[in-house]
């Protein structure tokens, strides 16, 4: 296997981008990544998108985006793993470069959620249609059940969960790409409208548009493109059951643990070696479960981590320095790649006001559905 590096990154702002279509967002992010690296070609592209078909009526995104990017003819394919589509696109690009099949591969995540589709129903296609959605459950409802199980088993409180949102908005307020770069208080979170008990509006990530792209090449060619490449030293992908009812412990995300273990094993490091992490906080409880499953805290001890400052910038393991999905926005297919870009910026010392000092090893964890798929990457500054 060849060593692989990220040499360029580009992304749109995340938010309600009424004036930009799916293809326009793709081109902005992809061109940004190539310009960042000073590259003028790619050998292959992976387009991570959860549901261009249902959000905008557009499928067959591989060739469409290659054409729109002025690269008709290159290998280009759409990959899907619900909200983990972006992270999976990155993994496919990593594998293709590592395997020696291609030298210059672009991984792009995109999603256009505000073009009028019924977002609740489209997102619910990532849950088990026959066994869950049929009976009236929603995605916030599934995470609410995970939250209630965590509270019941471990004593986690609504205030603990509110602190995840407060912390991530504090981080996101320093990110000019964020959809909601606004700080909130615990009281505001706890008095926001109820979505699915115990989760309120400000426990939930927003509906967003956006695109993010990274350019990968073999490490031994990286100096052609940048003085500061970032190595991908670990990649892990794992699956779990779609239906929450099929899990032994509804308060624990097995797929996140397995994907983390695989990435840590490949990288030859452990959770205590990581200095900065982006995890999939689609709902506040998700961050709590993810930091437990990744081993940053003990199982059951994730609740107070945000409140205690453990996961804040300046804490033991800063989590979601970008603002996370909560503040930065969550254009579902774009999220996994945007997480990688935050770690790329952190490891290059380019994260500005939200820079984590002396960050050498970073981690990004992206998941699909209520944890039915999870992909973890570990990055190292060079």
């Amino acid at each position: 296997m060849r060593e692989v590096a990220i040499v360029g990154a580009g992304m749109t702002r995340f938010g309600e981008l009424w004036n930009q279509s799916l293809r326009q967002m793709f081109v902005e992010a992809a061109a940004g990544a190539l310009n960042d690296a000073g590259a003028d070609r790619v050998d292959s592209m992976y387009v991570g998108c959860m549901s261009g078909g249902q959000f905008t009526g557009q499928e067959h995104l591989g060739p469409l985006m290659a054409d729109q990017f002025g690269m008709t003819g290159v290998a280009s394919v759409h990959v899907e793993s619900a909200c983990a589509s972006g992270g999976v696109a990155l993994r496919q690009a990593f594998i293709e470069v590592a395997a020696g099949v291609s030298d210059l591969v672009l991984a792009v995540g995109i999603e256009k959620m505000t073009d009028g589709a019924d977002v609740t129903n489209v997102l619910a296609t990532a849950a088990d249609q026959e066994l869950e959605v049929y009976y009236g459950v929603t995605f916030p409802g599934l995470y609410a059940m995970i939250a209630r199980a965590h509270m019941h088993t471990y004593g986690t409180t609504e205030e603990d969960l509110a602190w995840v949102s407060v912390k991530n908005h504090r981080h996101g307020a320093k990110n000019d790409k964020a959809q909601f770069p606004t700080e909130f208080t615990v009281e505001q979170v706890l008095s926001s409208s109820m979505v699915a008990e115990p989760l309120r509006l400000l426990h939930c990530s927003p509906v967003s548009d956006g695109a993010a792209a990274v350019l990968l090449c073999p490490l031994d060619q990286a100096k052609q493109y940048t003085d500061r490449p970032v190595k991908i030293v670990g990649s892990g992908l794992a699956t779990g059951s779609l239906a929450l009812a099929d899990r032994d412990d509804p308060a624990f995300l097995d797929s996140v643990q397995k994907s983390g273990e695989r990435a840590f094993k490949m990288a030859g490091v452990g959770p205590r070696d990581i200095q900065v992490a982006e995890v999939h906080d689609c709902f506040s409880i998700a961050e709590v479960c993810c930091i437990e499953a990744l081993g940053f805290v003990e199982r059951g001890k994730g609740g107070p981590a945000a409140k205690d400052g453990f996961t804040a910038i300046g804490g033991c393991i800063p989590v979601n320095t970008s603002g996370g999905l909560k503040a930065k926005g969550h254009p579902v297919g774009a999220t996994g790649v945007a997480q990688a870009i935050e770690i790329f910026r952190q490891l290059r010392g380019e994260a500005g006001a939200r820079q984590v000092e002396n960050a050498r090893l970073g981690l990004a964890q992206n998941m699909g559905g209520s944890g039915a798929s999870s992909v973890v990457h570990i990055f190292q500054g060079v």
């Binding site: 929603t138 199980a149 109820m194 009812a245």
Partner: protein
């Protein structure tokens, strides 16, 4: 939902048919061809007892369009005495009282109506045991 698919799901929804692995005893609802615990392929059909206990729950305040008239409503993962777990609405009670540990019975009810073809879709809902 297309009617062929609905027809296919009637055994589990109407009769609570589940499967028990003859190798390891794992119960799945609905029955599967391959056991998710041991990959065994000898699965016997069983009918679940129409009762159970809430494992975890929520109250949906922002529902999908098809359930707009019902919100807020309680939903729960319920475990039957056989060890099968299923997602159900919990009805005929104050939704906020549905919490882990609550004993419920499973009753045959109308779940939803399919818009264009007018199919009435049935299944089970949970009701707290008095």
């Amino acid at each position: 939902m297309p009617s062929p698919r609905y027809t296919r799901e009637i055994p589990s929804r109407y009769r609570l048919e589940a499967g028990r692995c003859k190798g390891c005893g794992k119960v799945t609802y609905p029955a599967r061809t391959i056991c998710p615990s041991c990959r065994g392929e000898e699965i016997e059909k069983i009918n679940l007892s129409p009762r159970g206990k809430v494992v975890t729950s929520t109250v949906i305040h922002v529902p999908p369009d098809d359930f707009l008239m019902e919100a807020p409503y309680a939903m729960a993962v319920v475990e039957t005495p056989e060890g099968a777990r299923l997602m159900t609405q919990v009805v005929d009670c104050e939704p906020s009282t549905v919490l882990p540990g609550l004993e419920v019975s499973l009753e045959f009810r109308l779940i939803r109506k399919e818009g264009k073809s007018g199919i009435l879709c049935y299944g089970h809902k949970a009701v707290p045991v008095a």
